[in-house]
Amino acid sequence: MLEIKNLHVQLEEEDKRILKGVDLTVEAGKVHAIMGPNGSGKSTLSYVLSGRDGYEVTEGSATLDGQDLLEMEPEERAAAGIFLAFQYPVEIPGVGNMTFLRTAVNAQRKARGEDELSAAEFLKVVRAKAKSLKIDADMLKRPVNVGFSGGEKKRNEILQMAMLEPKMCILDETDSGLDVDAMKLVSEGVNALRDAGRGFLVITHYQRLLDHIKPDVVHIMADGRIVKSGGPELALEVEHNGYSDILAEVN
């Protein structure tokens, strides 16, 4: 589904190389986790895949079901099925959460040539999905992420993911700033979305998230490359021994 080949990326503003040849394939129905020390390029990978400004791809390719992602605008990638759960969800004052969700859902439907959802249909769906994430009516009315706690913000990201039903979900450190209960809720939300047609790329520092969201494949990223891949046991190894052993072994 998602195929990344020899991806090289540097910052637009300064001559700094961040990704130095990333190869990664995520198949439909699979959960891939990427772990790695700070500054290894994990978040950059998520931004480059979703089309954020400020990065220059100097080499390589990234495709979703054969479509060249790097040629597309961010909203086209979204309509094609890329979803990024942000590490730091952005506040939009004055825009109700519900309005935001509905605008997003209908924008994607329109881009795909589907009819817009009526207000009544939308409301029914959103209420059901919000309930399972323990998002109440008040939180749906409040402005997007404004005054939300860390846990609320992340739950809100997962609600958006559930509403948009993307093909490829990228979770950028979704566990950061979450307590145990919130992590459980968020993970349940993610697990409910796992199905044969959907791929996941879960970026995290810690193994604990992977206790809840069981990965099929774990990759270790360091200095802009994937240096080691393996099964879930690789995450446990990191948990016990840190990154230094693996990095020493690779070097």
């Binding site: 979703s50 089309g51 954020r52 400004d53 605008e73 961010p74 909203e75 990638r77 979204a78 309509a79 890329i82 979803f83 990024l84 942000f86 969800p89 952005v90 506040e91 939009i92 004052p93 004055g94 825009v95 309005t99 935001f100 605008t103 997003a104 859902v105 924008a107 994607q108 881009a111 402005p143 958006q160 948009l164």
Partner: protein, 506 residues
Amino acid sequence: MAALDQTQVKEGVDQETVDAVREVGTYKYGWDTDIEMEYAPKGVNPDIVRLISEKNEEPEWMTEWRLSAFERWTKMDEPKWAMVHYPPIDFQDQYYYARPKSMEEKPKSLDEVDPKLLATYEKLGIPLKEQMILAGVEGAENIPAEGRKVAVDAVFDSVSVGTTFQDELAKHGVIFCSISEAIKEHPELVKKYLGTVVPVSDNFYATLNSAVFSDGSFVYIPPGVRCPMELSTYFRINAENTGQFERTLIIADKGSYVSYLEGCTAPQRDTAQLHAAVVEIIVEEDAEVKYSTVQNWFPGDENGKGGIYNFVTKRADCRGDRSKVMWTQVETGSAVTWKYPSCILRGNESQGEFYSIAITNNMQQADTGTKMVHLGKNTKSRIVSKGISAGKAQNTYRGLVSMHPKAKDSRNYTQCDSLLIGDKCGAHTVPYIEVKNNSSRVEHEATTSKVDDDQLFYCRQRGMDEEEAVALVVNGFCKDVLQALPMEFAMEAQQLVAISLEGSVG
């Protein structure tokens, strides 16, 4: 636009033509209506003033009133203190009176109405029945109306071309008609109130308006009456080189209530057009008036060519105790805006509110705000101003809060937020605060922010295109003001926000 960008432009076609074609469609109301018009000669002098008065079949006292205003005007200078720049206006190179010829004889049915006039109303979104009434079709009032009722007075260039629902309003004692009709039919009311809120000598543009105003709307709500429907005026400047000087007078007698909506559009012209209106509102004891404006005059093209110069004096006088007035304005059009809807809080415990969204894009300039003059005890005012600048536009909030010695225990709260899109525009805030007693409280909060790239990326990652994302963020920024608008206006305003900012990013 896109189609033309890709098409090879033939040699010999000058850039101006290409640009003109490109522009089409960027301003929704930019069509002009080719209707036979009757004009007075260009320029302004006592004869023109007399002619306008005569065309409106006015009594002698009105003609004299106008002439004295003209006399004063010749001794006045244009104000220069606003942060707006424009080439000098040649006041003698304007038409001061234009009206559609079809007004001369009343049509019997829609078939006899100039189809172009009807097409104009249709484009303005006025329902068919209203169109018939506005076009002056006899008996149209008796046809049942569809949907929700809004009484409409349409002012086309210099004249009011028709007012709807007059009979139904009359049952409640409400008078809603053109001001020219009011001068003839209700001279006692006009004499009593006209010029008492905005005196003839008030300012350069108001004085000019007093001399040459051609038409406008008149509203009187009798004591204790809650006006049964929203009242609305559509202003449209159609004729070329024609100034529009309308005059609106609203009187809310004791304990009454009215909500009044004003909409404005104008065709696309490369020459700037002048608009200098005066609105006076009188609010008696326990009465309440809401006045909402969606101003969408042609803003000029992206190089600053053409557009409306909008110099407007709007003022409400809260004469009675516990009277209340609320101004809400959405200013998206005009090349130059000079406008300060104000409240004189004379009655004890009277309240004034001002909610404003001013959007400037490309080369637009706006200097707008309000004056809250607290004279009575325990008076309250609230100002919420949202200024949005994009392109190379300049947007200034200018506001006065004045607490007079007798305005004991009065309060004002001002919130003034500016939003910048891009790095070539400007936002300015110029608050004037005068407090002459020691029991009043004035609060002023101001913020300036930029549309954040992170916000736009977040929206786009969720599937919205860039313009949709900007519109969403800006509508969020304006929410406090949009909420103050009547429902149907709020929808229109939200869309206008999106349209006015098209092409402002990227």
